[in-house]
């Protein structure tokens, strides 16, 4: 029995053209460009140093901190982003293009600049700083501040994915549900949200991933507690490449593992609640 792989290889060969050959070669070069530095780093890291690094409290704590803060930032901002995405997908309103532009703003500005802007926004004498300090919370130099920095640079991914997901849900299904007597809230939770779920999950994963890997904005807002990207930077600055590498490899491994897990969990779509 020919395998799936040999079948697709045969299909590929049968439709040979010079264009496809050249495109494949160019694409191959690009893939190498992405994969080889990472593989190079992995192979340059001895297993024992990896195990030793994995045992360090400082490393473990920073990886946990990075994961849970990124996760918390994603989930909290999802509550704000998903309804907005729905509005953007379904309704026309004045200045909609401006709103769309604002949403993409964090992607285009330098992240260190975003960090500086956020620092001013959450400093003790700012409105947000004052408001949070009345509850005994401080943002600068805390995990709360890190979460805000992560969310600021990563939330456009969630909004855009979710918006595309909602736009792909046929409006007719929503109208049919309304005609069957469902309230707009029920229509949202039983029709729109489940049908856009796949895109929303992709958006959540993208936001989470982007948040976890954020460095520029976070380092300005909170050098400590140290998230892993900052830790990697610090070890590189203080001790050099050799000491930064094991943490980097470990963190990449953890990231991959988390994404695979999230994908597996999100595979099951929610049904009518």
């Amino acid at each position: 029995m020919p395998s799936k792989f040999s079948n697709s290889l045969r299909d590929f060969n049968q439709s040979f053209s010079w264009f496809r050959l050249i495109a494949s070669l160019l694409g191959g070069v690009l893939l190498l460009f992405i994969i080889s530095p990472i593989l190079g780093m992995v192979f340059a890291t001895p297993l024992e140093s990896l195990i030793k690094t994995a045992g360090e409290d400082e490393v473990q704590q920073s990886i946990w901190l990075t994961i849970w803060v990124a996760m918390a930032a994603t989930l909290i901002f999802a509550i704000l982003s998903i309804p907005l995405s729905y509005l953007l997908a379904r309704f026309e309103f004045p200045l909609k293009r401006l709103v769309l532009g604002i949403i993409d703003l964090p992607v285009v500005i330098p992240h260190s600049a975003a960090g500086i802007a956020l620092l001013g926004f959450m400093a003790r004498d700012s409105f947000l700083g004052k408001a949070s300090s009345t509850f005994g919370l401080s943002l600068v130099g805390t995990s709360g501040g890190i979460a805000l920095a992560m969310a600021f640079v990563s939330v456009p991914f969630l909004i855009n994915y979710a918006r595309e997901g909602f736009a792909a849900v046929p409006e007719r299904l929503e109208k049919a549900a309304l005609n069957l007597g469902a309230s707009p809230t029920r229509v949202f939770f039983t029709i729109s949200l489940p049908l856009a779920w796949k895109s929303i999950v992709s958006g959540l994963i993208m936001m989470f991933a982007r948040g976890m890997s954020e460095f520029g904005a976070v380092i300005v807002v909170a050098y400590h507690p140290m998230i892993t990207p900052v830790l990697i930077f610090e070890r590189f600055g203080s001790f050099g490449l050799k000491y930064a590498r094991p943490v980097a490899v470990l963190f990449i491994g953890v990231c991959l593992l988390v994404f695979i897990l999230v994908r597996l969990i999100a595979r099951k779509e929610p049904r009518d609640a």
């Binding site: 046929p170 007719r172 299904l173 109208k175 049919a176 549900a177 309304l178 005609n179 069957l180 007597g181 469902a182 309230s183 029920r186 039983t190 029709i191 489940p194 049908l195 779509e269 049904r271 009518d272």
Partner: protein, 352 residues
């Protein structure tokens, strides 16, 4: 039951103008018209999905013009059915029941009852993606019936069903109506309108051009559009120009004269006669027919029961000829033939 008055809505390149009609309790009301005539839009306006510019809608005496979609007591079955793909068949049918605070067990009972009635109880656990067009149609219908709508709005309900299953679905709709369900049904199919409707409104270009019982509308089409739409091909406008003592009237169309019997006082109007009342011969017929014309065959093509032959006698007249006659007479395009039309098969419709 349902009263629509002066309903108007303007779109970019299309408008619905001054639609007025009334559907009584127990009626099977057909909105008949070609694609793009605005029929579906009328249904969506009644259901509250599309907002209207002008006009009023009453259901059971209540003004629902501004009521929200879910509060109009109408159930709309969309042309594309809009069965929820993320729910099983039974969840689809149960969807409108859940809001009413019905217990789960009663909901299931009701779902099963409706499914039984529509012969889809074997599909309850299925995923809609795996159903045929006919099955989906029944699921959409079942789901809408679960709302117990005062008026059931159907948008081309037979269009997604193949011919084999059509009669079954038509029988189902008829029996629903006999049980007292008021139905407003949109279609482009003349046969469907005749066979199901107790009342018909013909819609063209966003307006209602004629309303009545199917017999009224198709016996006395008020315009060439309605006549053509109802399958009458020989429909001519002109005026009565001659009269005889015996009640015969001469009707002039482009210089031709067609004789027929009528007591009409009006002189302007239309005449029509069925295709099978036109006989074709090679030589001038030596019968008593008053209406005998010579012409040329301009088109000939097969139909279910013989050939449709179009003869140009100054105006184009359609005749239905059997297969045998076409062969025997050697009928083909450009051939010169005689046609005759019996005077008592010609009907006069005065211009309103």
């Amino acid at each position: 039951m349902l009263k629509v008055e002066g309903l108007s809505k303007k779109f970019k390149e299309f408008a619905i103008c001054d639609i007025t009609f009334e559907v009584n309790k127990g009626d099977y009301f057909m909105l008949l018209g070609p694609s793009g005539a605005g029929k579906s839009m009328i249904l969506e306006i009644i259901a509250g999905i599309v907002k209207l510019d002008n006009g009023q809608i009453w259901i059971n005496g209540n003004d629902v013009t501004k009521a929200s979609i879910g509060k109009r007591s109408v159930g709309l079955v969309f042309q594309d059915l809009a069965v929820f793909p993320n729910m099983s068949v039974s969840q689809n049918i149960g969807y409108p029941l859940r809001r009413k605070g019905i217990k789960k067990i009663d909901e299931q009972k009701k779902v099963f009852e409706i499914a039984e009635k529509l012969s889809i109880s074997n599909l309850l656990d299925r995923n809609p993606a795996l159903l045929s067009g006919g099955e989906l149609q029944r699921v959409a219908l079942a789901r809408t019936l679960a709302v117990e709508p005062k008026v059931l709005l159907l948008d081309e309900p037979l269009s997604s069903v193949d011919v084999r299953l059509r009669s079954g679905l038509m029988a189902l709709l008829r029996s629903l109506n006999r049980e007292g369900q008021t139905i407003l049904h949109v279609t482009h199919d003349y046969d469907e309108a005749i066979s199901l409707g107790s009342h018909v409104a013909v819609v063209n270009s966003g307006t209602i051009v004629q309303t009545g019982t199917p017999v009224d509308v198709f016996r006395n089409p008020a315009s060439e559009f309605v006549a053509n739409f109802s399958g009458i091909k020989n429909f001519f406008q002109g005026s009565i120009s001659d009269k005889t003592e015996h009640g015969l009237k001469g009707f002039s169309i482009n210089g031709l004269k067609v004789w027929f019997y009528a007591d009409e006082i009006e002189s302007n109007g239309f005449i029509c006669f069925p295709e099978n009342a036109v006989s074709v011969s090679i030589d001038k017929p030596e019968n008593s027919a008053l209406n005998t014309f010579q012409g040329t065959i301009v088109d000939i093509f097969p139909q279910k029961h013989g050939f449709e032959v179009w003869v140009d006698i100054g105006v184009r007249v359609a005749a239905l000829v059997t297969w045998e006659s076409v062969e025997k007479l050697g009928l083909k395009t450009d051939k010169k033939v005689w046609i005759s039309v019996k005077a008592n098969s010609v009907r006069f419709i005065p211009k309103v």
